[in-house]
């Protein structure tokens, strides 16, 4: 792996973490390819081989529909979220395709409340090089956090 690729990869992860912590949800789908896969799944289902995911999207279009839902239809108590993500572990590096994993912790802060641990887990990713730079062809968010604190509204 050369530095340029490594730099772009770490920046992709850092930029994603900033974007989903910024409240600008429109930024989120743009990290993905058109025919991407995004899955938010409990570690239990993942390890026991159950196909159910908490959210399972099969295209960038579905991600955009999610953003619309967040913005327009999903009533929720607003909150800040903050992603702190570890260095990506590069499992496989081809010229234009990278398989990576990274541990993450997401903290939730509701208005006038203390911050708390919201979700922790692991990203399992396939990153590909596109004309617009590196994108996620696939991002699985496998969360340890057994009991979701009420609900997950924003993208993890």
């Amino acid at each position: 792996m050369n530095f340029q690729d490594y730099f772009e990869l770490t920046q992709l992860y850092a930029r994603y973490a900033q974007a989903v912590s910024s409240g600008q949800w429109e930024l989120w789908p743009e990290f993905f390819t058109d025919d991407c896969s995004y899955r938010l799944q409990p570690r239990e289902n993942h390890e026991r081989g159950f196909p159910l995911a908490t959210l399972s999207f099969e295209s960038k279009g579905m991600l955009k529909d999610r953003v619309y839902g967040i913005r327009e239809t999903l009533f929720h108590d607003p909150y800040y979220q903050r992603h702190v993500v570890g260095t990506p572990l590069v499992l496989k590096a081809d010229a234009d395709r990278f398989e990576c994993e990274a541990n993450y912790a997401v903290f939730r802060t509701k208005l006038s409340e203390l911050s708390s641990v919201f979700s922790v887990g692991r990203y399992i990713d396939v990153v590909v090089r596109t004309a617009e730079g590196l994108k996620f062809a696939s991002r699985q968010v496998i969360y340890d956090s057994e009991m979701i604190p009420n609900s997950v509204i924003y993208p993890l």
């Binding site: 938010l40 409990p42 239990e44 289902n45 026991r48 159950f50 196909p51 159910l52 995911a53 908490t54 959210l55 399972s56 999207f57 099969e58 295209s59 960038k60 279009g61 579905m62 955009k64 529909d65 619309y68 839902g69 327009e72 239809t73 999903l74 009533f75 929720h76 108590d77 057994e146 009991m147 979701i148 604190p149 009420n150 609900s151 997950v152 509204i153």
Partner: protein, 421 residues
């Protein structure tokens, strides 16, 4: 505090004999919550524990909860299902920690002192029961009158039907069929008609609100059109939907039966301001709905089985939703999505896609958890106040429409009967 308190009453107080105005204290008081556990979860009721498909093999077990008590559902040596309380008969340890697994070999052993129990809960091994022989002398051991038969695990009553498992701490509990009553049983059998179930997976959420609020939420047939914009936009909820509400004779259980209006564009028939004209799905595979023969008409049937479970059929998405209280102010809500043995891959994919609408992040369920949390906050800030559940009048009865809160009034009619006894 002083008995003259206007803001923080000592006792719950109803405005009248009816149940259309529910005191906020019905959701907040800790002592009353313990009484609810005892009278509603531990006595006289069948509580949901799981699905047979979760423990297909002899020795398979699943740890779960009834009210606030840990129990184990297990397929015992006779290949029938037992439910035992997860508390060791020796010194009380909650010995079973895995949430699922198989104990065919060896049954259950408590790690502290290795008391061993059969899958059915009979005590079959007590280390040093007869003491230890040393230098020709026998040291210690259990008293001569110790009878293992008296010290098994607490065994619950068990009833299974259509692959669903219920249990009760109450040996005198009526039959499961009588408990449900014919109306509800009919809808139960519609969903669980004997086909083998396949487990698709779990979702788990902790909702910081009183457990009854979830029962209310599913007994509140008109909020979807108001809160869940997507339902409306998708035409899943339309004012011209054919709808029926049915209860058991105690008014504790209910079924919300609805059938999508056949004709007309949603925006023509909806009267709901929440409808968003502009909305178009970028990817409509969320809504790849295919009717199934067993529906026999209704496109959605939501059953509330009091107090512990909700059975969901929303078009192709089917699940059980287990209510596990945790004090008056919170409950755990566990979703088990399933399918049927005869589903083809396309149908399984369909159920999984539609699952995006439900659960802790679902397009039309996440906000249910949110409104429950915020209702609880409202209750706690003025416990002397009460709700106003008078849509469709102040009476209780089955209806052929959704524009009513009658099911909520019915549930509290039953609640008062049991809690004020």
């Amino acid at each position: 505090m002083d008995d003259t308190s206007a803001v923080f009453p000592q006792q719950i107080r109803w405005e009248d004999k009816g149940t259309s105005r529910i005191p906020f204290m019905a959701y907040t008081d800790a002592d009353q919550h313990r009484r609810e556990l005892e009278r509603l979860f531990y006595r006289g009721h069948w509580c949901y524990v799981g699905l047979e498909a979760e423990i297909p093999e002899v020795g398979d077990f699943k740890r779960t909860v009834i009210g606030e008590r840990s129990v184990i559902m297990v397929r015992d040596a006779e290949d029938s299902i037992s439910v035992v309380e997860n508390v060791c008969a020796h010194r009380g340890m909650q010995f079973c920690r895995e949430r699922h697994g198989n104990r065919k070999a060896g049954g259950f052993t408590c790690p502290y002192h290795q008391w061993n129990y059969s899958l059915g809960g009979d005590l079959q091994g007590v280390p040093f029961r007869r003491g230890v022989k040393q230098d020709g002398k026998v040291n210690g051991g259990m008293p001569a009158d110790f009878k293992p038969a008296d010290h098994g695990l607490n065994k619950l009553e068990v009833a299974t039907r259509g692959g669903v498992v219920f249990a009760s701490f109450d040996a005198e509990v009526e039959s499961l069929e009588d408990f449900m009553g014919p109306e509800i049983l009919g809808y139960f059998d519609r969903l669980f008609n004997g086909r083998k179930l396949t487990i698709l997976g779990y979702n788990r959420q902790r909702i910081p609100g009183n457990w009854k609020l979830m029962q209310e939420n599913i007994k509140d047939p008109y909020h979807p059109g108001l809160l869940h914009t997507w339902f409306v936009t998708f035409g899943l909820w339309r004012a011209d939907n054919k709808s029926e509400l049915k209860m058991d004779r105690h008014h504790r259980h209910a079924a919300m039966i609805s059938t999508r209006g056949a004709s007309g564009k949603a925006d023509q028939v909806t009267q709901v301001s929440s409808f968003k004209e502009s909305m178009k799905l970028n990817d409509d595979r969320f809504l790849d709905i295919v009717p199934e023969p067993w529906w026999r008409g209704p496109t959605a049937v939501m059953m509330t089985l009091f107090p512990s479970v909700i059975f969901q059929q929303q078009v192709n998405s089917v699940s059980t939703r287990h209510i596990q209280p945790s004090g008056p102010g919170a409950f755990d809500f566990v979703w088990t999505h399933f399918g049927f043995e005869d589903d083809d891959d396309a149908m399984t994919l369909r159920r999984l896609r539609q699952a995006n609408l439900f659960g802790p992040a679902g397009f039309v369920s996440a906000d249910d958890g949110e409104v429950i949390e915020l209702s609880q906050k409202g209750f706690e800030q003025k416990p002397f106040h009460r709700t106003l559940a008078e849509l469709g009048g102040r009476e209780v009865g089955d209806t052929d429409h959704m524009v009513t809160e009658t099911l909520i009034r019915g549930m509290y009619e039953y609640w008062r009967k049991v809690m004020e006894a």
